[in-house]
């Protein structure tokens, strides 16, 4: 949406963000009406009772008491209405959160390649949360000032024109002065935040270089550097306090003017017979609403624009075209044990003349694959080696069907890729990525994600075969241990073995494996290696290999570089060739 421009189509689109929100929109209108009603009744009560007192009229006092009852009940009703309003917001938000997440899941892989993970998370969590702020605050700040403020002004002028004008003028001046004074406060706060961030940065430096600071007396300057920034923060916040004090003083002064001075003027006027004193008190009770109106009416339009702009960020996800079926509608597509019969029984994976660029353009300067051909025979292991960025991971992603080839052909189990539904293809494959990704649930569930519906016994069996059972049982909660965010409570080797167990339980005929590069300690390394070897047994395996032991055992090695196959052959053959491969191996063993 263009800034500052609100079109009918834009509004319609904005409204489409909120499903089943009728009660919400109704509440949005009912709230200010209630507010006005409560305040009007309250003012009426003040007027009647003060006049009753001045006239010593007991009957009027009793009448006022009835109005007071109405005020009380209306106040309680207001609380209920507000609660219901929040309740509606919570429901709308729940639907919206699920909708965005569901949509994200259905986006094609290219979306995630092109957008940083943090960006999607930002949208899913924080920008969606912004919508809640729109629902709860921004919308009200557009509607309330208009409805409440407008009614309050009319009421005040109706009660008494002269006092009314006086109150309105005082309010207007007070709001103007207050706004003028407060305006720099926000910039000041931003400035302080920036200084504060710098201060934190310098603290980080001190912490990171602690050893150096201890060993080199000259490095004490780093602490001084921090202290200097800290002093800057203090200076800036003092300036801000100075300004805040101004605001405070002005607020106090205007408060005094309205509550005492106008009241005193009202007293004089009432004794002069110009107005009854009850009315003066009633008008002053409405003055808060006028102030609210005047302080907020200026920002109402901005609030509306903000709501739209913030919604746009969420639409950046919702407007992305999806791929495949609705997640809700799709069946559980875990591997169910049937191997799809291919035309050629010996074929595991065949890639021929694969040309691919992430942009999808044929004349892209950065072609990821420039005519790659490779074959993994059924039950054999093929290792891909080569420098990073050479195209190894791209090959694996293509086999997983995350992208479409520009040219060429990929056949899995004898069937060309476009012929598979995504879930059907995935059910034939167990994929073990380089960073063993665990989800924030129990170890058991993380393994079971390999094949939903697997029994607990099968989970344990898979863990045993992945050499993970022992360490899992060493946790007090065993398989129910929660792995924590990104599995951070587990060591690297443990995470990898759980990922291997997940692949085991899937029991798919094809294994795609991206070996971890990060070094593990010797014992972990050995167990991970054993787990991987067990997993490979009998499966058609394509492995992006970093470990020499894995490479040596492969039935065939493809050296991939610059999007092409540079060399292929077995370990011994390639070592004799004295080419890329030999250099890679030598570099590695140095």
């Amino acid at each position: 949406m263009q800034k500052d421009k609100i079109t009918v189509a834009g509004i319609r689109k904005y409204l489409s963000l909120f499903e089943k929100a009728g009660v919400y929109w109704a509440s949005l209108l009912v709230i200010p009406v209630t507010e006005v009603f409560v305040s009007a009744m309250n003012a009426l009560f003040y007027q009647k009772i003060i006049n009753a007192v001045i006239a010593s009229d007991m009957a009027l006092l009793k009448a006022a008491l009835w109005i007071a009852m109405v005020v009380l009940i209306a106040n309680m009703a207001k609380c209920i209405i507000l609660f219901n309003y929040m309740y509606q917001i919570r429901q709308i938000m729940q639907r919206l959160r699920l909708r965005v997440m569901g949509h994200l899941f259905r986006l094609p892989m290219s979306y995630f390649e092109g957008h940083h993970t943090a960006d999607s998370i930002q949208k899913l969590c924080f920008n969606v949360e912004d919508i809640k702020t729109s629902l709860a605050n921004r919308h009200r700040r557009v509607i309330d000032p208009l409805m409440i403020g407008g009614s309050a002004i009319i009421l005040i002028l109706m009660l008494d024109f002269r006092i009314g004008i006086m109150v309105l003028i005082v309010s207007l001046v007070s709001v103007r002065v207050n706004m003028r004074l407060s305006r720099p406060l926000r910039d000041m706060a931003v400035g302080i935040q920036k200084l504060f961030a710098l201060c934190t940065e310098r603290l980080t430096d001190v912490l990171a270089g602690m050893d150096v600071i201890k060993m080199f007396s000259g490095a004490g300057t780093m602490v001084e550097r921090y202290a200097a920034m800290n002093a800057d923060v203090a200076d800036a916040s003092m300036k801000r306090f100075c300004r805040m004090s101004d605001v405070q003083a002005v607020e106090w002064a205007f408060g005094f003017l309205c509550n005492i001075v106008i009241l005193i003027i009202g007293v004089f006027m009432s004794f002069a017979g110009l107005v009854d004193f009850g009315t003066v008190v009633a008008i002053l009770s409405l003055q808060d609403m006028v102030t609210y109106f005047l302080s907020n009416i200026g920002s109402a339009w901005g609030m509306l624009i903000d709501s739209f702009v913030l919604a746009d960020r969420v639409f950046e996800i919702l407007d992305e075209p999806v791929q495949g079926t609705d997640v809700q509608a799709s069946a559980d597509n875990a591997w169910r044990g049937e191997v799809i019969p291919g035309e050629n029984d010996a074929e595991g994976i065949v890639i021929s003349d694969a040309v691919f660029s992430y942009s999808g353009l044929d004349n892209d300067a950065r072609m990821a694959l420039k005519g790659v051909g490779l074959t993994v025979e059924r039950g054999k292991t093929v290792a891909l080696v080569g420098e990073s960025g050479g195209g190894k991971s791209t090959i694996v992603k293509l086999i997983l069907g995350f992208y479409q080839l520009n040219d060429g052909m990929i056949k899995v189990l004898g069937k060309p890729l476009p012929g598979y539904a995504p879930d059907e293809l995935h059910s034939q494959i167990a994929y073990v990525p380089q960073d063993a990704y665990l989800f924030a649930t129990s170890i058991r569930e993380n393994i079971r994600y390999g094949r939903l519906g697997a029994s607990d016994e099968e989970v344990v069996e898979a863990a045993r075969r992945a050499y993970a059972h022992e360490f899992i049982m060493a946790f007090p909660d065993g398989y129910d241990t929660l792995v924590g965010e990104r599995g951070e409570s587990l060591s690297g080797g443990q995470r990898q073995r759980i990922a291997i167990a997940r692949a085991f339980i899937r029991n798919a005929p094809i294994l795609l494996l991206d070996e971890a590069t990060s070094a593990l300690d010797t014992e972990s390394e050995r167990l991970v290696q054993k787990g991987i070897e067990a997993l490979m047994g009998g499966r058609t395996t394509l492995v992006i290999a970093h470990r020499l032991s894995t490479i040596e055992k492969a039935d065939m090695i493809y050296v991939i570089g610059g999007g092409q196959v540079c060399e292929k052959g077995r370990h011994a053959e390639l070592m004799e060739q004295d080419g890329h491969y030999k250099r890679l191996v030598e570099l590695d063993s140095r």
């Binding site: 009560f45 003040y46 010593s56 009229d57 007991m58 006092l61 008491l65 007071a68 009380l72 609380c79 209920i80 609660f83 309740y87 919570r90 729940q94 959160r97 997440m101 999607s120 969590c125 934190t200 912490l207 602690m210 050893d211 150096v212 201890k214 060993m215 080199f216 000259g218 300057t221 780093m222 800290n230 203090a234 003092m238 306090f241 100075c242 004090s245 003083a249 002005v250 607020e251 106090w252 002064a253 005492i260 001075v261 005193i264 004089f268 004794f271 008190v281 809700q328 799709s330 875990a334 995350f402 995504p422 879930d423 994929y431 990704y437 924030a440 649930t441 965010e485 899937r506 140095r590």
Partner: protein, 560 residues
Amino acid sequence: MKTDKEILKHILQYVGKHRMLMLVAFLAGAMCAGCGVAGSALLKRVVDGLSAGTLGDIGKIIFMCVCILVVGAGCAWMTRYASGSVATKVLQEVKDDAVIHITKMTTECMAKSHSGDILSRLTDDVNRVSSFVQDDLILVIRNPFLLIFYLLYLLYLNPLLFLLSILPTLICLPFGAMLTTRFKAGSKAYMQYSADVISSSADMIGGIEVVKSYSLEKPLLEDYRNHVQKMTDMAIHNDMNQYKGRAFWILSGTLSSIVCLVAGGWLCIQGKLTVGGLVAFFALLPKMVETINDMANRAFNSKVALAAAERVFEILHTPIEPEGKAVSGIDDAPAIEFRDVSFAYEEGVPVLNGVSFQVPRGKTVAVIGASGGGKSTLLRLLCGFYRPQQGSIFIDGVPLDDWDLEALRARLSYVSQHSYLFPVSVGENIAMGKLSANEEEIRMAAEAANASAFISGLPQGYDTLAGERGSRLSGGQIQRISIARAILKDAPILLLDEATSALDVQAETDVQKALDSLAKGRTTLVVAHRLSTIKNADYIVAMEHGRVVEVRANVAANLF
């Protein structure tokens, strides 16, 4: 866990340094409240004076109005400004003290607490304390006095009316306060839970390849649905508390003003109260109710602030490195001696097990052995980062524990495997080796460290920023800069932990040259990985599983 009282005492210690400002804030606050009372009194005088026809000079009334207005606004300004000053200064002082304390903290403590944790204590928590000092502390102290002010005046106006109008507040207040406290605690729990949901959904997005290749969309979405459902339930439950609480607060305010006016009106009609008295009463009562409500609400804020303060002051109470008083060693003692030293980072996992050996003055000793054998730990012990659990370490004949740490560290140059450069200029990084080093010295050190050539080639030469956001320095360059720093320091003893990570051949040679020039003429203890280093050492100490298995003079070095 400390008691709230102790923590408050600790805060007051800092606040106490600015007691004059605090006093000003307090007095100004009290006067501000006094002006409020004076305003009401004036109102009463006008109303009663007019009805009785005894109102004096109008000019005098106007003059009093202006006086109260000016004094009140001035006091309001002063209250805010003075309490803000105190808060700012306390914040600054606590942070400075904490950082100085951290630099003296034992490495053990540092290692135990995440640096992220320290950061959050010194940012979020300190801010919480500061906002408590700035907004709450002054009011916590001031409110009871305000209350007494208002109370006395209202009682003076009419005791019966006072009792009646304060009753609804007294009844509603406990419920309102309880529900509000519950709501705030609930909000915290909700925030915590939604942070968890965010991180778990971050997992799902981050692991999208796994999600897609295992067709996990449906179960994970189901998971997410459950999380979101729970979030919604928590939020609604919490909203319930919030609005129930709000109902009580509104009830408290509305009822007391209704009671005040109705009962007061009745009293007026009965002739027991003047109209002016009622108006003055009614003008002041909301302020009183507000003050009471405020006090109840602050209770929760104070709790949060005290918890934050506790976390901050914990930093100030972590143990600091022990040190002795010795500032010089014994001349003819061996430079370094380990005597039966045992050490473990964690209990039950010994790293060093009765290690004994000497490094004679002016000689080079190479420590060799498999990784994880405790070699680097030897160097860290010498620097005083950790203390052995058993045995003793002598440096220049003086036990480590007796050394003044600054004097000890001045005698040592420690070049670790991971050279750290601060994100300041290259020149400044080198200058850290010596207080007030001049440019010439810096250049000479860089020259000696074989670094001057590449530094001159950097875009801004010595002024080029090093570190993460600066120009990208290679591993070898970073090492050479840190060696230049050590050369400038010119300490008699060199502790060198050779890097295991491979550099390319040229970088390797460059670094080696730099190290050779650093080691020249110094007593050197080196954890060696390179054959050339081992060859050039005078003695070789072989270590295995935390024990010294062999000490031999190096014949190849041919120096004795």
